[in-house]
Assembly symmetry: D2
């Protein structure tokens, strides 16, 4: 009954089975020179309806930082949302991999930003003077850290801005499957057709064990990625076990099936919670993540009842984050809702003293 | 029938089973805040007979580069053997993680170096003048890249040198299990009791899927490792699957059982090949790796017969590398030997033209 | 008639003479192993009333970035004001020299910040979790980029905060002489007695040719500075010419005499402008820098009249920056004021169209 | 009487005068936006007979490291001679500025290397495999650290190799004037006509105070140099004083006049020493530097007589380095020779005990 994050979930049985299957073929050449990895690249090309370069890695931080290092010089700047994972939750990985680039956070609403905010930031960046880090890239997240989703059209508008300003466009797709499932757009429409140059294709949160991929839509951009991945320690010797996860993930649409399930569970949770007294949902709930303020008593009851989720502050109505996963079950959602309903009506308690 | 590298082998069944077991407990908190990871640390403390700090990662390159970054300032120098993996085969990972430190290669024999070579290099390093990168660490490999082994005594002599010169001592233990199995020394005797500060504890080559660990014998050295691992993209969200591999690897001495098996297969291979006409074994064969010059006809016959191994040059008697693994079978070794014997007596062919 | 910046001024005659004098002694050992450099260190110790380590460099950017690299790990964070030079005008030098640290801009007023803002930022930094860059240092500027001044007491309050949180305290003293002159506090009171660990002691803007110094109040902090300065290309072979500038700068209080003069000229300019119709001074004018909104007609008349200063926007009343220097003359100030008075009364013009 | 290095010499009077002249024009816009800097670029274009991009800096280490950072990715490798300044005497500056590139030292004779050595190193570099840092640049020094000189033809042969292998060609010209004076070739023939892409044009050792320049023959290579120079703290605010040195240095051939003088003094010294009993000159003496083994008694007598030079070992016949400068006088050379002659005939002493 864990709604803290989709990374608390385990591994989908299809993916675990793929690992066992890959192991049956006892020996294979290392470092990606194997059949599974080759098949994986073909699958990605099919899914994105074009040639792409594929670099599997084990973590989203690695995927993001490697991708950004391809398009941002050490003295460059990266526009991103103020709430982005790369800016707040990767302990400076983009700075490390780029050799010291600067992240310039953008304002926005509901975890999203757009061409107007980008234009304003660009105008303020002192472009052309050597005293200021020149903007090199835009990095956004879809679905966003607030649980909202960029449509294909919104993405394309940002892509057009990037093109005009000669900025690279990177998309952090830690929950890309949920975005595809939520929008109904094709993977291509949400990425390269909208001007995205590089995608961090996430899979760990949606049923893999530890597997992501940097997808480069411009293979030239990827020319140095092999070297960069190796020197960052992200080239697996037994690569086939990384590739096998992603291969099974993509096979027969498993990735979208799981994302649709997670999104559906979130709709169920959202619908149930939103109607409760003194529950305030904070952003549009469009995929598998919801932020809401819950009465303190309700929060405490849920925790006591064994439900895990992140409580972001200690106010009378704490801000809580709920995430559903491929493995979330309707009964778990319903259990949470039942407990919430039975604790939502009590009197408001004062906030606790801060330590 | 793959003797190219132990990283061509698959995953030991016990370790694959551990992954499935870890998955059965469907949800767990991420980033190492889980029971398996806690148990793993306890196991390492037991095996090394003292408190140690344990940081699981997925690749040996990551383990080495992270460890070195703890003890080498960006302007520092690292003494290592000229043949070392960190110097030749990690595409500059130590330089990347340290922020630009310099590797100073040492001469040696059979992949090994010693206090005399270290002292000479130290004397030549211009210590004290700001024009020269000051030596900060020594990094050796056990078993070495030549397949030889440092005994506990040899390690301790180097450790004593490091202590005198205030140099940190890092050990690349990509095949540490094979070194323990070969020497009969305890893990403690081969490391901290001999003055080693940091160990890259390898497991991937010996039956894991992708699992290594940085072991810090001085927990203070490890203070910043958590941050460094995260920003390098090496902190797994579903950490328990990394830890589960290592946990099963250490359980009931599986790691040493597998290493002893690999070493034994290499002894069998060595014994069989060394007696053949015009086969020249190049270094003492002490663990699970052998370099030998084989007649060209023999080399070609083995390759044609489906045996994989690295051929390092194109001379009349090519230099070949053979590695055995936990999964190598005596029948495979015997098959190779039989084929070798039947092709070893032919006339010597001239070397091919170089392209 | 240049009020754009004190770096448009030339070199004080006393300092030019010192260069010629240093040259008369034709040969000297390189890299600071010379008499002038030794004498300089003694002078700094005297001025700061304690032992200090002194590292002359040629630019303020080098001084700031080197100082910060001593106290901030590559994965660390530096609190600074949103308007600070290190954050906005050094093209990522702190990021480069630290190996990728993150600058966390603080809100404030008039270019200043304080313990309350620092505490709030510290509380929001997620200290302790590896996902977030841990705060390592505070870097402030005195006089600030807004022309205001931190008193010894204000500095000490920030120093006390740093001490409590184990943060290093760096002061960018590009115009440190102006701060000393403005406050009447001693150099010691504005720095180490108030908890400052490292000072970028500026001199270029106040009459030197190209000379600054990193002053480390804790000599242990400076242990690696020699290496870092060298590898950044900031160790001069003919160091005595760098030291000679600073030596003459400090001799007989020349530095403070020049700073007092510059501050006095700014008071004269401020007094004259502040009284004019529709002139709005934007921050307290406490040293040798003033920001003010001037009527557009006045701005244009001054420019046409040969007065240089920075015009920061293109509104009807542009925001202008004026800086006085050791070489500013009262007659120049008076000339500017006379011209301003004669153009200040015209009707307001609409803002120009933005390109 | 200092023959230790040409960086012990002072500043040529013409150059000191230029500084005073630049100061007379009291105010100028900062950061190179001034007339002297513009004139300097024109002079360089004239001297090199083509358009060049010019970036003045204050030290040779900065020039070298900045130049290399333009053409070497963080994961790349740089071929250089084993004795090169960038490899031995810059405390890792190239590693710092490139973000961790690897220097691969080449064997050679008399401080020089050539196409054969480069080809062998290239063949051994494992080009194409991601495990090895891919070669990106060749960096040589002219005159070399052994005092020898690459002719235009030798340079062109190396340039042709670089072209074939798509390697950038950087020349460390710390004593470039001496090379031009020694060869009689034009600056163009020794650089871009021979395939050099980037030149560190030294001037400090030959009469400037602290002035060098990165010269980019391919202006596209220089696109990012402005940003890189700024973030490394090497953009001078009062740039005109840096440019003024170089401007006077180039005016009316002063630079070559001074270099010819220095070279002539070295010929005088060489001629006088080479004929002495038991003096062994170690490399061809082609410019203003000589390495020689001198009898120990002679060495000690010269030191006692007030002559400075580097003594590189403590053998019975120590290896000594002598360098002449623009300011060396024939009488000083003759004085040294007279003293040497009077102490060269004594019996050989045993080497001293090493501490």
């Amino acid at each position: 009954m864990n709604f803290a994050s989709d990374n608390t979930a385990g591994v989908a049985p299809e993916i675990l089975a793929a690992l066992a299957r890959a192991n049956a073929a006892q020996a294979a050449m290392p470092y990606g020179n194997d059949d599974v990895t080759r098949r994986l690249t073909a699958r990605f090309c099919e899914i994105f309806e074009r040639e792409v370069a594929v670099f599997p890695v084990a973590t989203g931080t690695a995927a993001n930082a490697l991708a950004l290092s391809l398009v941002t010089p050490p003295y460059g700047a990266i526009f991103t949302t103020a709430s982005s994972h790369i800016h707040n939750d990767e302990c400076g990985a983009p700075e490390f991999f780029t050799g010291g680039a600067k992240l310039l956070p953008l304002p926005g609403r509901d975890g999203k930003t757009g061409p107007a905010e980008l234009q304003a930031a660009y105008d303020a960046a002192g472009v052309g003077a050597v005293h200021h880090t020149p903007p090199a890239a835009v990095s956004l997240t879809n679905i966003t850290e607030a649980g909202t989703v960029y449509s294909a059209e919104e993405t394309a508008a940002i892509g057009a801005f990037c093109r005009r300003r000669k900025l690279a466009f990177h998309l952090d797709g830690a929950r890309f499957a949920n975005a595809v499932a939520a929008t109904g757009a094709t993977p291509a429409e949400l990425t390269w057709k909208a001007g995205v140059d590089l995608l961090s294709f996430g899979a760990t949160k949606n049923g893999c064990m530890a597997a992501e991929a940097v997808i480069a839509f411009n293979p030239e951009l990827a020319a140095s990625l092999g070297y960069r991945r190796k020197r960052a320690g992200h080239l697996f010797s037994k690569m086939r076990f990384l590739s096998a996860q992603l291969d099974a993930y993509l096979e027969d649409g498993l990735w979208l099936k799981m994302a649709r399930h997670a999104n559906a569970q979130m709709r169920r949770l959202h619908k149930g919670l939103a109607g409760l007294n003194r529950v305030e949902v904070l952003h549009p709930v469009e995929a598998n993540m919801m932020f809401a303020r819950l009465p303190r008593a309700m929060t405490e009851a849920l925790i006591a009842g064994g439900y895990f989720f992140y409580v972001m502050d200690e106010t009378a109505r704490p801000r809580c984050r709920f995430v559903t996963a491929f493995s979330s079950r309707a009964a778990q959602v319903d259990g949470l809702l039942a407990l919430a309903r039975s604790h939502g009506a009590g009197p408001e308690k004062p906030p606790p003293k801060r330590r």
